[in-house]
């Protein structure tokens, strides 16, 4: 099984079903439709439970990070389910590139497929670094731009939902509105509308307006921020429904969006040029990409501030400046300095109670998560950060108990302030 003879996804395979793991619900449900528009039948996997973990344990080295284990377990469990014709199915998985173990997920997936007898199933690497190519699967520029738009919609909806739902008067209003927007955006996308920056300039504020109109009753609630390794941070499968749990404990939850991560990954290449030298052309290309992404960021922020009294995330540039006072901008593997920056930003915007979610033994997190908590505590004595490890053996009880400890302290701080 050499890389040279990996199973390619060819043009003849356009009628295949592409299975992909789910991560962030809102974002990914919009993304699926973009693929459909370009002729790819993408299905997001929602299977969970013990079987997923067991398949993962069976086919992936048990010390590998939990996200790899889960994602691979989920894909194999789906192939085993009998729901799909395994000769007409391909798998799709993101590949970030970079010095973290995560760049190897796709290879581990292929190894696992091979072991499980699915060696013939093609695997598509979804990446923006040009790591692997498939003749039947191309992300065209227009598609990439649509995906970016989907991400912006997702980030905004998630941001607003999190700030409204805990306070809604009529339980369920917010969830309904989220679904309505997902449906509306899908219809727009189907009609090839709604993804240009010009259109978004109009639609995004409307989204904010609709959320601002939900009837709420403001009460003092413990405000919790969630940061972490990207998959564990977003995926309820990986983090044992963390958001829901916090919500059930009467908290307001803030989860920083995906756009920051993309800005970060793009910016890293610029930083590399700065730190170690690099081609001028590459530098320019990246500067343009940054400029392009920042335009979207500006719209997103403007929209969030347009109505109501929502907490608007700081700009990427701003949090980078602040954060690089304590950690180098060259720290780029995994979530890199961005994770530390997100924690700082959360504390400063009133979400000083933080769950830092990471897979057990996550390498970058030793540095940017657990490694920075002491420093943050020094800078922000009011911060109340709890790192939580996720892996197949960590029990929910244990995790919830630790989170409860954090919440007790948070509650006390809240009462002190009142």
């Amino acid at each position: 099984m050499n890389p040279e003879n990996r199973v390619e996804f060819t043009k003849e395979m356009m009628d295949y079903t592409l299975l992909a793991p789910n991560m962030a619900d809102v974002h990914f449900s919009i993304l699926t439709n973009i693929f459909a528009e370009y002729g790819y039948k993408v299905e997001l996997l929602k299977n969970d439970g013990r079987a997923v973990v067991d398949e993962g344990l069976k086919y992936v080295h048990n010390d590998t990070c939990y996200p790899a284990l889960l994602v691979i377990g989920q894909l194999i469990d789906a192939l085993n389910s009998g729901k799909y014709d395994v000769n007409k199915t391909a798998l799709m998985i993101t590949q970030s590139g970079g010095g973290c173990r995560a760049s190897n997920y796709i290879h581990l997936l292929r190894k696992a497929l091979h072991k499980a007898g699915y060696g013939h199933v093609p695997v598509i690497s979804l990446n923006l670094s040009g790591l692997e190519k498939n003749s039947g699967f191309k992300i065209r520029l227009s598609m990439a731009i649509k995906m970016l738009s989907a991400m912006i919609y997702g980030d905004l909806i998630m941001l607003l939902k999190n700030q409204v739902e805990p306070y809604e008067v009529n339980v369920g209003d917010t969830k309904k509105l989220v679904q309505k927007w997902i449906d509306d955006i899908n219809v727009m996308f189907e009609n090839r509308k709604g993804y240009s920056l010009r259109e978004m300039r109009k639609i995004l504020p409307e989204i904010t307006k609709s959320f601002a109109e939900i009837e709420i009753k403001k009460t003092e609630k413990v405000k919790v921020g969630v940061v972490g390794e990207i998959y564990v941070k977003y995926s309820p499968l990986a983090n044992n429904n963390l958001e829901e749990f916090l919500f059930s404990q009467g908290c307001e939850v803030m989860v920083p969006g995906l756009l920051g991560f993309f800005l970060f990954k793009t910016d890293n290449r610029l930083e590399d040029c700065k730190l170690y030298g690099g081609k001028v052309l590459k530098k320019y290309a990246m500067q343009i990409a940054m400029w392009f992404l920042t335009r979207y960021e500006t719209e997103l922020r403007k929209a969030a501030a347009a109505y109501g009294d929502f907490c608007v995330p700081e700009t990427y540039k701003h949090i980078k400046e602040k954060c690089t006072k304590i950690i180098g901008a060259g720290c780029k593997m995994g979530e890199g300095w961005l994770l530390t920056a997100e924690m700082m930003e959360l504390v400063e915007s009133g979400y000083g109670n933080i769950v830092c979610a990471q897979p057990f033994g996550c390498l970058p997190n030793h540095i940017v998560g657990k490694g920075m908590i002491r420093k943050l505590k020094e800078l922000y004595p009011e911060s109340n950060i709890v790192p939580i490890d996720y892996d197949p053996g960590a029990t929910r009880v244990n995790q919830e108990n630790r989170i409860k400890l954090m919440l007790s302290v948070a509650q006390e701080n809240l009462e002190k302030k009142a």
Partner: protein, 967 residues
């Protein structure tokens, strides 16, 4: 009126406070998981003794209390928070609290920003750990405490996990270390774990309070903490009840009708909702068929012998039991014995031999063989003829039952040994080095927690209808899974069955890591004491979907195999101790420190009557002989010599401190040359040692990071102690590109550890810590970059000088690497000439550190092999496609070395890979190494290393490897 209930993992505590906040009732009991029953009883007692509590506020706390409170709709207070409330109220002025519970450990800091720390997914260093260790010594924790009072010295024992500790303690016991010292060492290990795991960058000082059961009951544990923290902590009068009291203080809201609550609790029916697995047996008939089938695999037994007949003795001195067998020349079993080890194998074997001489009065002992952990000491003590590696003993025995056996799995008390047989030799060995969860002692621990012996406990599960699905996990984690299952209403029968299944799953998926039964083999023989339990055996057959052979002497196979080998290879006259000598047998133990190299092994010197001696605790053979190491071929040693030339020097300019860990090991020639050429002085941190590690322990923020990274904290402290004013430790995302892989990264920990140091070592504020981002891979850009950095810190430096220094540094580095390469080749040629096997000991450059590799290089040399390194052969290989993304420089060398061996097809050149515990990248490299090697039928051997080492397991692997390659 307030009532507080503290439902801990093992105990239940209850207090009732009157309106003045005084305790009028308190109770502390082990709950044996009968939480509802016991708490209801306690509330009943309160009502009976103090009727005024009929209406009181009540709240629940404790690690097992959350679900309980949720089901009953009672108020819940997180237990650490509860402690904090009580301490603030009752012991103002406290700076820090250390609280150890059954399965948790906590530190609370009060001054300078309140902070609470609790153990995460690791239960090392808790009450459960102490219980586990006490039961290993077959005493109670209180007796352990008594023993520790008579300590003489401390051994280093890992307490991160009971598993590691066991593998530290067992050899100590087997080698005859005094139990008092072991007891004290256990407490000391708890202290280290607590400090390392929880302090995370904060010093524990000032007024310290000790809380929780273990600290309350065990005075020696308290004094171990006092010693470790260099302070005197207090253990308050109601130390056991602080959580319960805190819960009571926190209770708010309406007073409850306690009688009703009591009834509610008593009537609390569990949901019965948990994930379950298939039952082991559908019905009795299936079980009968199963037992009938397995009854067929019996050993040939004979109960008589002729006068003057030769008999053969086999001894398996295992980690928890001593097994013995006596056979005749035909391999018929005449006599056997299975004895718990109790930490003194010598005494047991002595009584066994006495029995043999008694029983077989007229027979002649024709030969004897010993295997197992205690092999060396037993061999020396009683003049046993042959010492054999366990794998060979088991294989020999298994062949007697299934001549075509191709897979053997042995699950013993604490170890799992599995191996494949190919071409009648042992091919691939799986040992559980990092985890004991698939083992017998795992079941044992749970059985005794419920007051059963292992046999009857495991039987309970045979006909369980819905075995709990516990997955495959470490014992420590399993505790909480079981707790959860209990809470969900799983019966003990279903838990028992679930545990048996999880033993099997652990063995299959964690140790062997098999994807399917076919991968194991066609003819499988299972053995070891754990398989004597039908539930485990059945679970195994179910899980792999294939019938296996379990010999009726499944627990004795090691000993039986040894006896067979004794018969096969018997010398003319056996050297075994005679009946007369045995009568006068004496055994004395003395402790000593080796001191012949920097390892400073703590030795136990055993002296036996007849002048025989056995020295244990050594990591190499230096302790025994005065022979110098000059003619060994050890490239590790050579590399160390090369590096020792770059020593601390003074210069015209400032002195630069270099912490000698992680990537600095390999880059020392570079930086040393670079700085000295610019006129700087260079100061190196002292060599790694346990003491150095402890020095920096309090600043480690992540307790799950690898040991090499943790050591860096000690190295930085060492530089600070030397008074160095400038410490140079750059962040390096990229390593040098050796054109072997797709990229040339460092792993995230190596790349960015300077960031951790900067943010966590408070005393760095007083020095100049240079941790800028640098890339040596861009030679063109490097001089300008470093020039800029140096100018910022040291003012005027000429770019031209920097350029020259950089050129010299690059040259020096290349020379150093080339030297290793050339010498490695020379060593291999020399080995060929001397007809020695060669081991390519693969790892990362910092595995050179003896504190990290635990002298494994010397151990290999003492087995008669030459040791070279991965970077000495990697230049011979050019880039080739791998199944994984080959993007880390250090790891590209590993793959290249594997490729070299795979292509070389020389049975005398083999790979042994050192893997640091907690190294996330090695989860990827080990699999890839294995697949590269196995693709051309080569044997892959890996050795896991951590804060501690397990030379026993290392030896088994090496000896089996040599046995397999015909050495």
């Amino acid at each position: 009126m307030r009532i507080g209930l503290d439902v801990g993992s093992t105990t239940l505590k209850c207090v009732a406070l009157n309106n003045e906040g005084e305790i009028v009732y308190k109770a502390y009991e082990r709950h044996y998981s009968k939480i509802a029953e016991m708490s209801s009883k306690m509330l009943g007692e309160i009502l009976a003794e103090h009727p005024e509590f009929a209406h009181s506020m009540l709240s629940v706390s404790g690690s097992a209390g959350m679900g309980f409170a949720r089901t009953l709709g009672l108020e819940f207070v997180q237990e650490v928070y509860a402690t904090r409330v009580s301490v603030s109220k009752l012991l103002p002025g406290t700076d820090a609290v250390i609280e150890l519970g059954g399965e948790d450990a906590k530190i609370l800091f009060f001054t300078g920003g309140t902070e609470v720390r609790m153990n995460g997914s690791c239960a090392g260093g808790t009450g459960a750990f102490i219980d586990q260790m006490a039961s290993l010594l077959e005493i109670s924790p209180l007796e352990l405490n008594e023993l520790a009072k008579h300590k003489d010295k401390i051994y280093s024992i890992a307490s991160r996990c009971g598993v590691f500790a066991k593998s530290d303690i067992q050899p100590l016991l087997n080698q005859g270390a005094a139990k008092a010292d072991v007891a004290a060492s256990i407490f000391n290990a708890v202290v280290n774990q607590t400090v390392a795991g929880l302090a995370q960058g904060r010093r524990i000082e000032g007024n310290i309070v000790y809380l929780g059961g273990p600290l309350y009951f065990l005075s020696e544990l308290r004094s171990a903490f006092d010693e470790g923290l260099k302070t005197k902590g207090v253990c308050p009068e109601n130390g056991l009840y602080f959580v319960a009291m805190g819960a009571a203080y926190c209770a708010k809201g309406e007073a409850l009708d306690i009688a009703k609550v009591k009834d509610d609790i008593a009537g609390c029916v569990n949901s019965g909702d948990y994930v379950s697995a298939k039952p082991l047996f559908a019905d009795k008939a299936e079980y009968d068929e199963f037992t009938k089938r397995h009854a067929e695999n019996s050993v040939a037994v004979k109960d008589s012998y002729d006068k003057g007949e030769k008999i053969y003795i086999g001894i398996d001195a295992g980690s928890t039991t001593v097994k013995t067998a006596v056979t005749n020349a035909a391999g018929e079993l005449l006599f056997s014995k299975y004895m718990p080890n109790s930490g003194d194998p010598v005494r047991l074997v002595k009584s066994f031999l006495e029995e043999v001489y008694e029983k077989f009065d007229g027979a002649v002992i024709g030969g004897s063989a010993v295997t197992g952990y205690g092999e060396d000491i037993i061999k020396n003590a009683f003049g046993i003829d042959i010492g054999i590696v366990e794998t060979v003993a088991h294989f020999t025995a298994a062949k007697k039952f299934r001549p075509d056996v191709d897979f053997i799995i042995d699950i013993g008390g604490q170890d799992i040994k599995c191996f494949k047989i190919r071409n009648n030799t042992i091919d691939n060995i799986f040992l559980n080095e990092a985890c004991s969860s698939g083992c017998g002692s795992f079941l044992q621990t749970f059985a005794s927690a419920w007051g059963y012996d292992i046999e009857s406990f495991s039987k309970l599960g045979l006909f369980a209808d819905r075995p709990v699905d516990l997955g495959s996990r470490c014992t420590v984690f399993m505790n909480s899974s079981v707790k959860q299952a209990q809470k969900d209403g799983a019966s003990i029968e279903n838990i028992s069955a679930g545990l048996s299944i999880s033993v099997v799953k652990n063995a299959l998926y964690k140790v062997i890591r098999a994807a399917s039964a076919d991968e194991l083999g066609k003819s499988i023989v299972v053995q070891g004491g754990t398989f004597l339990n039908d539930a485990v055996l059945r679970a195994f057959e179910q899980e792999i979907g294939r019938n296996v052979v379990r010999p009726d002497i499944s627990g004795l196979m090691g000993a039986y195999g040894a006896a067979l080998i004794a018969a096969e290879k018997a010398p003319h006259t056996s050297t075994v101790i005679s009946r007369e000598e045995l009568a006068d047998f004496e055994h004395t133990v003395k402790a000593a420190i080796c001191g012949r190299c920097s390892n400073n092994c703590r030795l136990t010197v055993n002296t036996f009557s007849g002048g025989r001696r056995f020295i244990g605790g050594n990591r190499c053979s230096k302790a025994f002989s005065d022979k110098s190491n000059e003619d060994t071929l050890n490239l590790f040693e050579y590399k160390k010599q090369l590096l020792s030339k770059y020593e601390s020097v003074d210069g015209k300019r400032e002195k630069i401190g270099l912490p000698m860990g992680l990537n600095m090991f390999e880059l020392l020639p570079f930086w040393h040359t670079f700085f000295t050429n610019l006129g700087f002085g260079v100061a190196l941190s002292e060599p790694s040692s346990r003491e150095l590690y402890i020095k920096g322990q309090h600043t480690i923020p992540s307790d799950t990071v690898c040991y090499p990274a943790k050591l860096i904290h000690g190295h930085v402290e060492s530089l600070l102690e030397q008074g160095v004013k400038h410490i140079f430790y750059p962040c390096m995302t990229y390593n040098l590109d050796e054109n072997l892989g797709d990229n040339n990264y460092n792993c995230p920990v190596v790349a960015y550890y300077p960031e951790v140091i900067r943010s966590n070592v408070a005393s760095l504020a007083d020095v100049d810590f240079i941790s800028d981002y640098l890339g040596l891979h861009k030679r063109k850009h490097f001089p300008a970059k470093i020039h800029k950095i140096l100018s910022q810190h040291f003012g005027d430096i000429k770019l031209r000088d920097v350029q020259t220094a950089a050129d010299k540094a690059y040259d020096e580095y290349a020379r150093y690497m080339n030297n290793i390469h050339i010498t490695g080749l020379k060593f291999m040629q020399e080995a060929k000439k001397r007809n020695m096997p060669v081991i390519i000991l693969c790892g990362r450059p910092y595995h050179l550190d003896a504190e990290i590799n635990h002298g494994i290089d010397n151990l290999i040399c003492s087995c008669g092999a030459a040791v070279v390194t991965e970077d000495s052969v990697s230049p011979l290989v050019s880039k080739f496609p791998t199944d994984v993304l080959d993007q880390w420089t250090y790891h590209s060398r590993l793959y290249a070395a594997a490729k070299y061996v795979a292509d070389k097809k020389d049975d005398d050149i083999n790979i042994v890979q050192l893997v640091s515990f907690g190294c996330g990248v090695d989860a990827i490299t080990t699999d890839e190494m294995r697949s590269i090697l196995e693709s051309s039928n080569r044997i892959y051997t890996q050795i896991k290393i951590d804060e501690i080492s397990n030379p026993g397991a290392v030896k088994i692997r090496l000896r089996s490897l040599f046995a397999a390659t015909g050495r």
